[in-house]
Structure formats: structure tokens, C-alpha cells
Symmetry: C2
Subunit: 422 residues, 2 copies
């Protein structure tokens, strides 16, 4: 199998804007790529035969896939569960409507794990089909990595954007909490559920975010970014020693390359309060899942996987005080995170413990992501490194809440630096 | 028309637990009350003919109405809009499933304004049918006030629990943000959308909250509450002078009665940062509504009211920076609110500018509620006072985030004090 070649959103839009291509042709190319590739990858649960194509809008001609945890009024929405097979919501998710408003073509729905938790779907990793693409936004990551579409939308409650992006060797961006609207997703844990974006590179995903939101997020060739002014923290979290040797080596190479490129590197020890906040993620998620998915357990018990039922029941059995404690720990964590970003601009940490695990039974582990989901801080998986076997390794960059623009700008610079070093 | 007589949840549960009544009889009584009263009040959009009745659970026999902005899998869910006439969601809202798990009987759906915004439904005020019951939880408030059911569930994004409770002369309780789950409501502004409860009195609504959540929230006859230990702040917000004379008089009477009962009264001037936070509510709400209801504007434009379309378009036209500014103002407000509660325990302020306005075209004004919705602090409308014409006036009590138990306990004490003084 040849190495997958993602489509550059930036290049595609340049081609469109210079008249070399046009929306109908762009969408037709995506349709054709899905037709030829998706039998092997299984990134899509549904593909539109005659997708609506706009003209003259920022995202005209850009065919995007929508994680099938997000509602679409004109396409089946299954939430990765047989319970919702053939389900057709009355209206779209907010971010889907936003994408349509900006001119994007919704070309289909991408595979999600069951309810965006851990029970995997059929998608395989485009870099090695015997490995998981990661989850829960499995199809959104694989569809971009395999070069079927230039951009997709996913969600993250633990590590469901960063991890599949890392495993599939593309950029996955989880914006600051509520930068993108989550209304119309099948909620699992509403205070964690965050909409995120996938594209080939950091520059591409930043452009996608910019055009989707109307915020100034694109990575311009901006001479004002002087590496020496950027303080990069190597985040020595308590989980760091548990990362694979390949990941540890990649992170070391990344830090060395950043330093060589002139960035200021500052090792950051993990404050106890953030270790505690990370530990609060699971109980908080379980309690909210017990509430949010309580109706499903009551109505569709026989059709839910054992691990989904287990987490819902765990949440329902929890004392409300345990939830309150988790929320308090999270709040203290957010204050500590804000303080931490007084001294640094960007934190670097693994996007995942290593490359995509072999097999499809597990979508991997979110232990390096869930703290930042809980903190609401923007984070991105920078693709650059890989193992000797050619499996991608992602480096996660994190910034202060609301500092999405700087995150994307610095991460794009780092991506170039890392690729040279990889 | 005789003065409406709400049903006491506490008395009903005592009767059940002492064997004087039983769940089938209790539910039958609610059905009969709806049959005889709701032609005049129009609190319900749907009533179950054969509602499911449990036995042996905390809320067994308690027939409750669910605001029709919350999903029910077994009943039509219309969100107050012709767009969703006859809509049947695949699953229940989280709080509906929670109520079922605790044994409550979902007896029907109650009238909401369109999408829980301002376009009114047909419900009238049980105290005077030529007046609005308030909104957006119009039917939930009126159904309790008219004595049809002992408790109902509603939602508040601006003042949609406190205001109709006040207008209808019952207790309306908006818990701390996320104390009750909002998943499965038709979201309008997710960072504001809060599930709340209605019952005849503060003691009743506290008991409902206790049995629904499993939290220790009921107002026990607790001799440990010494009024002298409770610092009550009279909140002199910048809106206070705009309240009706009747409301200003009621508030003065309330404060004097509380002082006479031994509570410590402390006048509290509104910090500028909270005035600014109140002003942030509207842009924040509009921006989020522009996102959350964007799909509906795109798909169902012709079926939405003008004022709903206006707010969605207003939100969609806003610069994202204005939203970020509103969120920052809200965050600063939350910090100032926390500091304010270092010096006092409970704030008192009007639940509404006055009694229910005449006519059904307007559901009244949330200007005294929206700050506390945005702050996420628990608040409750204490029923006790009324105008010379017999229209109810509510006094709003507010406590620190997470301090729901103290709020309910003190409010129950104040309710007795106020009733004696009224």
C-alpha cells in the first residue's frame, strides 16, 4: 500500500481562487477519492450521491466529512450505534449549519465509535490497515489522512480529536471550549464535549478554522513571529514516563529542534493541582454520561455495548458529591493552568502514548489529552514524526484558554521545524 | 374564579407514605385535575391517557409535567413551534429519564414559548386569566399554580423559571449550573440553558430537588438555622429603581420582616463588574442562539416568529470578538460574585419587575434574573406577596454557586416569615 497522501486545503483553495479548479470539480474529486479508497479504509458511514455544492462562499468546493455523532437533517445519523441505525434528525447540528453557511459541501458522515466512547467502528488506519485509526473521531481522521477529503469535523470528550489525528499523521485541532458550538451532537459529557477539526497540516486546519468561524486564525506568513519571543514549555506531566520509547524520542527530537530554531524552551513540572484535575476527568465524565446517556440505558439497554453500559451505570451509581468534588478539582485546575501560562506560551506534550496500537479492538488511550479537554484549553496534534515502521507520532501543543490564534501560529512554525528534524 | 390552590408535594408524599393514598390514586387525581382545569388554563400541550405509574420509588405517584422544550421519546415534543408539531424524539431528555428513574409519572408536556424564547404560547395566568403566566416555562408554572400537578420541570436561559414562578405565585428554583442535566433540551444558548423546578412552596420544591437528585436538599425542621447567623444582602442592583412600586414595597416588607425575624440585613451595592456582566447576557445569548438555532433558521425560516429570527440573525451577524468579550465579562462577573458571597449568605432581589403584565402578548421581562443565570448561581423565587388586585409578587433569593442547600433552607424560612408579613 502506498503511503497515504492527504489533500492540502490551502493548496486546493489557492487552486480554486486562481481559477484552476471550481467547486463542482473539487467535490467530484472528493467523491471519486471516496469511491476508490473507502472500501479499504471504511471512514464513511454515509456518502451523498449528489451533494449540494455552493459557489462564491469561503468554503465553496470544500467537501467535508462530518463525524456521525453530529446531527444532519438530510443524512442518516447513527451515533455509532445500532440503536440509531437509519435515524434522521429533524435539524442539523449547529456546526454543520455553520459549515453549510460558509459554503462547505457536506459530502458524508464519518465513522464514530459508539456514542463517541470506546467501542470501535470498522475504520482502519490509512498508514497500516491492521492498526486502529484511533477514536472516537475515527472516520474523520482517516478520511483526511487517506486523501479522500481536505477537512473533517469531529468531537473530543477525552482525546477523540488529538489521538486519531496523531495516529493518522494529520493535524487535529481542539479549539477553546465553546469556540465551536456543540449543539446537535449526541452529548456524552456536556462540560467536556468539544467540537474539533481535522486537516492535513496545521496550516490547513488553521485555515479551515478561520474560514469556518470568521475568526482571524489562519497562519499567515507573518514575519512578526520571532521564535526567541515564544516560550515553549516541555510539560513533564506525571504520565510522561508511561509514553512509548518512540514517543519519548520524538518529543526529545521535537524539543531539540525547537531549541535549535531559536524558541525558548522551559521545562515545566506538573503542578499537583493539575495531576488532581486530570484524575477528575474520569469521574466527571462518568457522572455526566450517567445523566446524558441515562435515557439510552433505560430505553435501549440490549443494544448498547458492555463498556458503554458500564460507564453509564458507574456514573449513575456515583454520589453527587463525587461529581461536585471533580468539578471543584477541575476549577482549581483551570486557575492553575491560567497561572502556568503566565510563564510560558505553548506547552508541548505527547498527543498519545505512542503510535496507533495494532488491531481494531482498542482505539488507544486518551491519557495525554483528557486534562486539556477538561481545562478547555486549545490544543493541536502536530504531525511530523513517525516510528521506524512508518506509523505516525503526534506532538501535542497546548495554549492558554482563548489563545487559539497563537497556538495555531506557533504550531505551524513548529510543524516545519519538526519535519526538517524528523 | 376561586383563588388557585396548588398541591403541596410534601403533604402528598406524607399521605402516600402513611398509606392514606397510593400512586394510582395520586396520578388519577392529577389526571382529573388537568381534565377539569386545563381547558381554562391551557398549561399542557399533551396529556398522557394512561401514564406509567411506579411503586416504591422516591417519586412514585408524583405526576409531573415536563416543559415541552425537553425531549420525551413517548410523547410529542414540539418546542413551542409549528416546525416540530408532532415531533417524536428517539430518546428522552436526561432530566426526564432521571425523573422516571426516581419513580415520577410523566403525565404530560407543558406549554413553552417558541424555542423557549419570547413568542408566547396559549397558557394564561391561573390568578387572572387575562394576564400572562410568564415564560418561557409558562405551562410548568401555571400547571402547578392551578393545582393540576404537584411539581413540574422547566428551563431558564434568561428568567424562564423565576419569572413565571413569581407571576403564578409558586416556588421556582434554578439550581447551580449543571446540578441538573440539560442534555435533550432544545438548546438556545448552551452556556446559559439551565434546568429548573417548580412546586407550590419553597419546601416543596426543595423536597422535589432532593428526591430527584439524591442530594441532601430537603428543608428539614432544622433548629440549627439561627437567623442571626445568616447574612442577607439586599441587592441594590442598577435595575432596582425600575421595578414597579408594588414590587419595591414587597421587597421592603420582605427585608423588614427578615430583620424582625432576626436575620442580619446588609445592603449590597452592585459592583460595576456585575452591572457589566448583566449587560453581557444579551450578546452572549444572541451569539449562542445564532449558532444553536442557525440550523432552524436555515431549514425552517418561514415557520419561525419574527422575534426569533431577529435574535438568531443578530447573533449570526455578531463578530466572534463580541462573544469573547461577553464571555470575559461573564467570567469576571463570576469572580466578583464569589467575592460578594464572602460577606453575605443570601441576596434578595425582585424575581420580576412587578406582577404578571396584563395580556398574553408579552411574557414579561427577565431583567432581574439574567445576571444570575449567567453567573450560574442558584436562585429561587419565594412566593408570599401579592398586589392589591391579587396578583402574585415573587422575591428572588440567590446564593453562592454550589450553595443550593443553604439557599433552599434559608428561603423556606423566609417564605414563612414573608407570609406572616404579607
Amino acid at each position: 500500500m502506498p503511503a497515504p497522501e492527504p489533500i492540502s486545503l490551502s493548496a486546493l483553495l489557492q487552486a480554486r481562487d486562481s481559477g484552476q479548479t471550481a467547486p463542482p470539480e473539487m467535490v467530484a474529486q472528493a467523491s471519486e477519492a471516496i469511491r476508490t479508497k473507502d472500501d479499504d479504509i471504511v471512514a464513511f458511514t454515509h456518502v451523498e450521491n449528489r451533494p449540494a455544492i455552493s459557489n462564491g462562499a469561503p468554503l465553496s468546493g470544500i467537501a467535508i466529512g462530518i463525524k456521525d455523532i453530529l446531527d444532519t437533517a438530510d443524512m442518516p445519523t447513527g451515533y455509532g450505534s445500532e440503536v440509531f441505525a437509519g435515524h434522521r434528525p429533524r435539524t442539523d447540528a449547529a456546526v454543520v449549519a455553520l459549515a453549510r453557511r460558509r459554503g462547505a459541501t457536506i459530502i458524508g458522515k464519518t465513522v464514530t465509535t459508539e456514542y463517541a466512547f470506546f467501542e470501535p467502528g470498522p475504520t482502519v488506519n490509512p498508514h497500516n490497515t491492521s492498526h486502529t485509526p484511533g477514536g472516537s473521531s475515527s472516520g474523520s481522521a482517516a478520511a483526511v489522512a487517506a486523501g479522500m477529503v481536505p477537512a473533517t469535523i469531529g468531537t473530543q470528550t477525552g482525546g477523540s480529536v488529538l489521538r486519531p489525528a496523531a495516529y493518522c499523521g494529520i493535524a487535529g485541532y481542539k479549539p477553546s471550549f465553546r469556540l465551536l458550538p456543540a449543539t446537535g451532537m449526541k452529548h456524552f459529557a456536556p462540560s467536556l464535549d468539544t467540537v474539533g477539526l481535522f486537516a492535513a497540516t496545521v496550516t490547513d486546519v488553521a485555515l479551515f478554522a478561520d474560514l469556518l468561524t470568521g475568526r482571524d486564525l489562519r497562519v499567515a506568513s507573518d514575519p512578526s513571529l520571532r521564535p526567541a519571543d515564544i516560550r515553549i514549555g516541555l510539560y513533564r506531566c506525571s504520565e510522561l514516563p508511561t509514553a512509548d520509547a518512540a514517543m519519548q524520542a520524538a518529543l526529545e527530537t521535537a524539543i531539540a529542534a525547537a531549541q535549535a530554531a531559536g524558541f525558548t524552551i522551559i521545562p515545566v513540572e506538573e503542578p499537583d493541582v493539575l495531576k488532581k484535575a486530570r484524575a477528575a476527568h474520569s469521574p466527571l465524565q462518568a457522572f455526566e454520561a450517567g445523566m446524558s446517556c441515562g435515557p439510552d440505558l433505560a430505553l435501549f439497554e440490549d443494544q448498547l455495548s458492555q463498556r458503554l453500559k458500564d460507564v453509564i451505570r458507574e456514573g449513575q451509581a456515583m454520589a453527587p458529591q463525587a461529581y461536585d468534588t471533580a468539578r471543584r478539582d477541575a476549577k482549581r485546575g483551570r486557575m492553575a493552568t491560567a497561572a502556568l501560562f503566565d510563564d510560558i506560551d505553548i506547552l508541548l506534550t505527547p498527543s498519545a502514548p505512542g503510535p496507533a496500537p495494532r488491531g481494531l479492538a482498542s482505539t488507544g488511550d486518551p491519557r495525554f489529552n483528557k486534562l486539556w479537554t477538561l481545562m478547555g484549553t486549545p490544543s493541536i496534534s502536530i504531525p511530523a514524526f513517525s516510528t521506524a515502521d512508518g506509523l505516525p507520532l503526534g506532538i501535542q501543543a497546548v495554549a492558554r484558554f482563548g489563545d487559539d490564534r497563537r497556538l495555531l501560529k506557533v504550531a505551524a512554525h513548529l510543524e516545519k521545524v519538526f519535519r526538517t528534524a524528523a
